[in-house]
């Protein structure tokens, strides 16, 4: 039984179906009439923002611990007094709130309040903070006041505190309220005005891990602003914790040794780049900064001539002086300008054309080979050899050791230092490179600038057998390094030289603390004043574990000032972690 479709029948049915489709749309129009015209007022009222309020719930940041699990950054509960901008519109609203605060010993004028509300404003029904950092006692005191305005309500918040205080200020950094610029620059639109962000240090470096996930709460309130019920609630989620490689106790020891002098001390594991000590002196307490300090206190910090907020370990670039000689030595040996038998006679000075370059020891060192030149820090040896090596090779080898590049430590604000060469000098001074510049360069003076962290890294490479490690503070970060092109034999020669420094050379004062150190002294001339004292070394000499670099700005002689500091620091660590 086969019957083809009849066109007429199909068209007939089509009209029916089409009419159903088109006329059924009028049902939608009826719906729109009902909701948008007849009941519009009711819904406009519901939507007009006076019933639903949004509160942003900031999560606690992740905690930060030192290598041994000692807390370096944690959160404590305090209270903010919050309000909705729409409830604070008229002068009397502000006066009422300001009066309340004044009665309970919290200084705040109605003008302050108004500015603060305007600064935080996002939407009329999005809560802002009127007063922050209140204790539980203060809050209960305020709420009990018979004239406590219904527009205000307390909200618990997390405040950041740093139990390590000034000891770890440059590592931890601090948090603070997000600035207008930061708000505009943000990529993922996560933040809103009034949010807390990491401003420097680990807090800034690992902001995205530490910050957690913001929650929010939508509440319906009555016409007087009293909360009726929760409409929506998303829990805030705490940020991830971070464990550092830093050792707070050793940090305290570093602070004791530096004793407030301007300078830096850094200790690193020679093998994996874990930073155990990272101390910039003088330091500051980051705690007040997170609670909000006055402009006066802030400028006292920033205008201090000792610049306590400057991170001298990785952000300060200094002429390295004689501690740089290991790099020059590596270049000389690897380019076959000298070998273990090559000697130079040091009469106390070096003539280059019309110029005379002095050795630090005016009476001269006599005949020196490379090991002896390192031991005695003989300048003339390096003057002469560097002229033969030439600046291009010298810079090539400096570059190999990471001079002039960031170490890649997980901390913001790192300085590259300055690996100055021909092009740099031409660009900067419009002068060509002279041999005299090369000679200065060879002993770590002239245009060359390095950070204490860069130097610690160079010495770690000698200690670990030729790997340039990337320093790291986050214990969960994978160790990284790059192999150096230096031969074992040449490296051993240099290591012998810097071991001799401590046993019978310029760094003998590092030898009397019960551990075997290899290292190099440096006394860097400083165009702005007193010489900088350096010592960079590692221990134990035959099986190195830690490398330490110390710099004392204007400290004078590296031999007498620098070496005992490094020796005591390393002795502390080796004695401690036995």
């Amino acid at each position: 039984m086969y019957k083809t479709l009849d066109h007429f029948d199909v068209d007939h049915r089509l009209i029916y179906v089409r009419n159903i489709f088109i006329f059924s749309l009028s049902f939608l129009i009826v719906g729109l009439v009902y909701f948008q015209l007849i009941k519009a007022d009711e819904y406009v009222n519901l939507a007009s923002n006076n019933r639903l309020r949004m509160i942003r719930l900031l999560p606690p940041r992740g905690n930060v611990y030192d290598a041994g699990g000692v807390p370096l950054a944690v959160n404590v509960r305090t209270f903010d007094m919050k309000a909705y901008p729409m409830d604070l519109r008229y002068d009397e609203d502000f006066n009422e709130a300001a009066g309340l605060f004044a009665r309970h010993g919290i200084p705040m004028t109605s003008q302050d309040l108004r500015t603060s509300v305007e600064k935080q404003y996002v939407a009329p029904y999005r809560a802002i903070s009127v007063a922050i950092n209140l204790t539980l006692a203060q809050v209960s005191d305020l709420v009990m006041d018979p004239e406590f305005p219904s527009s205000l309500f307390p909200s618990p918040v997390w405040r950041r505190i740093y139990p390590g205080g000034a000891l770890v200020a440059h590592v931890m950094g601090y948090v603070g309220e997000i600035t207008r610029d930061e708000l505009e620059d943000q990529r993922d639109l996560y933040y809103q005005a009034g949010d807390i962000v990491g401003k420097s240090g680990i807090e800034s470096m690992y902001e995205e891990d530490l910050r957690g996930v913001v929650g929010d709460q939508v509440v319906e309130v009555d016409s007087r602003g009293r909360r009726l019920r929760d409409v929506n609630y998303n829990d805030p989620q705490k940020g991830s914790d971070i464990r550092l490689t830093l050792d707070l106790a050793a940090q305290r020891e570093a602070s004791r040794l530096m004793d407030g002098r301007r300078g830096a001390m850094v200790v690193m594991d020679v093998n994996d780049g874990s930073v155990l000590v990272f101390f910039s002196s003088p330091t500051y307490d980051p705690n007040p900064l997170t609670w909000g300090i006055s402009n006066k206190e802030w400028s006292a910090l920033t205008d201090d001539p000792d610049r306590p907020m400057m991170n001298r370990v990785s952000g300060g670039a200094y002429p390295p002086g004689s501690v740089f000689k290991v790099v020059t030595a590596a270049g000389i040996l690897m380019e076959n300008v000298a070998n273990s038998r090559s000697t130079v006679y040091c009469p106390g000075s070096f003539e280059l054309g019309p110029q005379t370059f002095r050795c630090w020891r005016r009476s001269g060192h006599g005949t020196e080979d490379i090991v002896g030149a390192l031991r005695d820090s003989c300048d003339v040896f390096f003057y002469q050899m560097s002229v033969r090596l030439g600046v291009d090779k010298l810079i090539e080898w400096s570059h190999e050791f990471g001079v002039g590049e960031r170490t890649g430590i997980d901390l913001p604000g790192e300085s590259r230092g300055n690996l100055a060469g021909r092009e740099w000098k031409r660009a900067r001074f419009k002068e060509s490179w002279y041999q005299g510049d090369t000679v200065n360069y060879a002993i770590g003076q002239g245009f060359l600038l390095m950070t204490p962290l860069q130097l610690a890294r160079v010495y770690a490479a000698f200690a670990n057998g030729g790997r340039l490690v990337t320093p790291r503070l986050n214990a969960n970060k994978k160790p990284e390094w790059r192999g150096l092109k230096i031969s074992r034999a040449n490296m051993d020669m240099i290591k012998r030289g810097i071991r001799d420094v401590v046993t019978r050379g310029t760094g003998r004062s590092a030898g009397s603390y019960g551990i075997e150190i290899a290292g190099k002294t440096g006394t860097a001339q400083n165009s702005q004043g007193e010489d900088h004292a350096w010592f960079v070394g590692y221990a134990p000499a035959d099986n190195p574990k830690y490398v330490a670099a110390v710099l004392v700005e204007g400290g004078g002689s590296g031999a007498s000032v620098g070496s005992p500091l490094v020796a005591q620091m390393l002795a502390y660590l080796l004695g401690h972690n036995k």
């Binding site: 179906v17 489709f21 749309l25 729109l32 948008q36 015209l37 519009a40 519901l46």
Partner: protein, 355 residues
């Protein structure tokens, strides 16, 4: 017809932009993506028009088979990842086979009914079995909304293709009879969505929340609306999925009753044009195809707009041409291109018969 389509797409873009402001990502992202999809769709439209609908209908059984395989593959992936899977992920773009299935099903059914009119019980049951496979697979995803679209499409095509009234009546009755059993197979959240539409205040913080908020959005739009970018409901995350499921709520809040009626009239005109193509063509397959497309778009328009007013359960169906979503846009363009091809080809049809 093209003008209407472009108007709807344009208004959709405006609403997607507005909805995007509320979402915590780059505000232009959805608009740009949608524009790209629009361009792709335009390309598809033009090429399909050139190829002509005959070829599509000729290969429709094969395409239908392939779609079924895709759906099966999707269920298998879904079984492995233990969740609802409706997309194939191709790089940053995702593709919903359920959308493709709509066009292909209509094509296949047009071909089937033209050869085997559903005026015999045998043909009717074969058609139901054929289409039932895809409906079942879609239900398994689970995508209740799309499954309902399939049902509406097949039913309309049956009606037009000349099923006797007693068969249609029988289908409705058996459908109603099966409802209680289907109800049991639904997931709890699906049941809730169905119930809250009857009384959203049963669960105002959970499932009913969306209904209430959407109603507030539409209702507060009033006669003229709050104006472009002035809507507060969509912006403040009160509306879930503001750029897809609840796009009409965003639109109606900002452009009010007047804007809403304009959109409804645009769709009415679109249906008018699609059914006119059905009248004009001499090809019975073309007629059936057009009515299938009309049924599909009609169902989604009714559902999506009614849902935004809380007059229909929430199913997550996009508003055709309007909502953000590549698969839906692309398939709508493909379907409308085929309809257009049918509308312009009676002349060409004669030639092909001679040849």
């Amino acid at each position: 017809m093209l003008v209407v389509v472009l108007c709807l797409f344009g208004l959709g873009l405006v609403s997607i932009y507005s909805a995007g402001i509320g979402v915590r990502t780059s505000t232009m992202l959805f608009v740009l993506k949608q524009l790209v999809w629009g361009a792709v769709s335009a390309l598809v439209y033009v090429s399909v028009l050139r190829v002509g609908y005959h070829h599509f209908i000729r290969y429709s059984y094969w395409m239908y088979g392939a779609t079924i395989l895709l759906l099966i593959a999707l269920s298998l992936i879904g079984a492995v990842s233990k969740g609802a899977v409706r997309w194939f992920q191709l790089g940053s773009l995702s593709f919903q086979p359920a959308e493709l299935g709509k066009v292909v099903l209509i094509l296949a059914m047009s071909r089937f009914f033209s050869r085997n009119p559903p005026n015999s019980l045998k043909n009717l049951l074969t058609a139901l079995a054929l289409s039932g496979i895809s409906v079942l697979l879609i239900l398994l995803q689970p995508d209740l909304g799309s499954a309902l679209v399939y049902v509406a499409v097949v039913f309309s095509m049956l009606a037009v293709a000349g099923s006797p009234g007693k068969y249609l009546g029988g289908l409705v009755i058996s459908g109603l009879a099966a409802a209680p059993f289907l109800w049991k197979t639904l997931k709890t959240y699906q049941k809730l969505r169905l119930v809250v539409f009857l009384d959203p205040y049963i669960d105002p913080q959970g499932a009913g929340y969306n209904v209430i908020q959407s109603r507030i959005a539409v209702g507060s739009g009033g006669l003229w609306g709050k104006g472009f970018l002035q809507g507060t409901q969509g912006r403040l995350h009160f509306l879930p999925e503001p750029h897809t499921d609840f796009i009409f709520s965003v639109y109606a809040e900002e452009f009010g009753f007047v804007g809403g009626v304009i959109v409804v009239l645009l769709f009415a005109f679109l249906f008018w044009r699609v059914s006119r193509a059905a009248f004009r063509t001499k090809d019975i397959r073309g007629k059936l195809f057009c009515i299938g497309v009309a049924a599909w778009l009609w169902f989604q328009v009714m559902e999506s707009i009614a849902m935004s007013m809380g007059l229909a359960p929430i199913t997550g169906l996009p508003l055709p041409l309007f909502s953000y979503g590549g698969s839906s846009l692309l398939m709508t363009a493909l379907a409308l291109a085929l309809v257009q091809s049918i509308a312009v080809s009676p002349v060409r049809d004669k030639f092909s018969q001679i040849a």
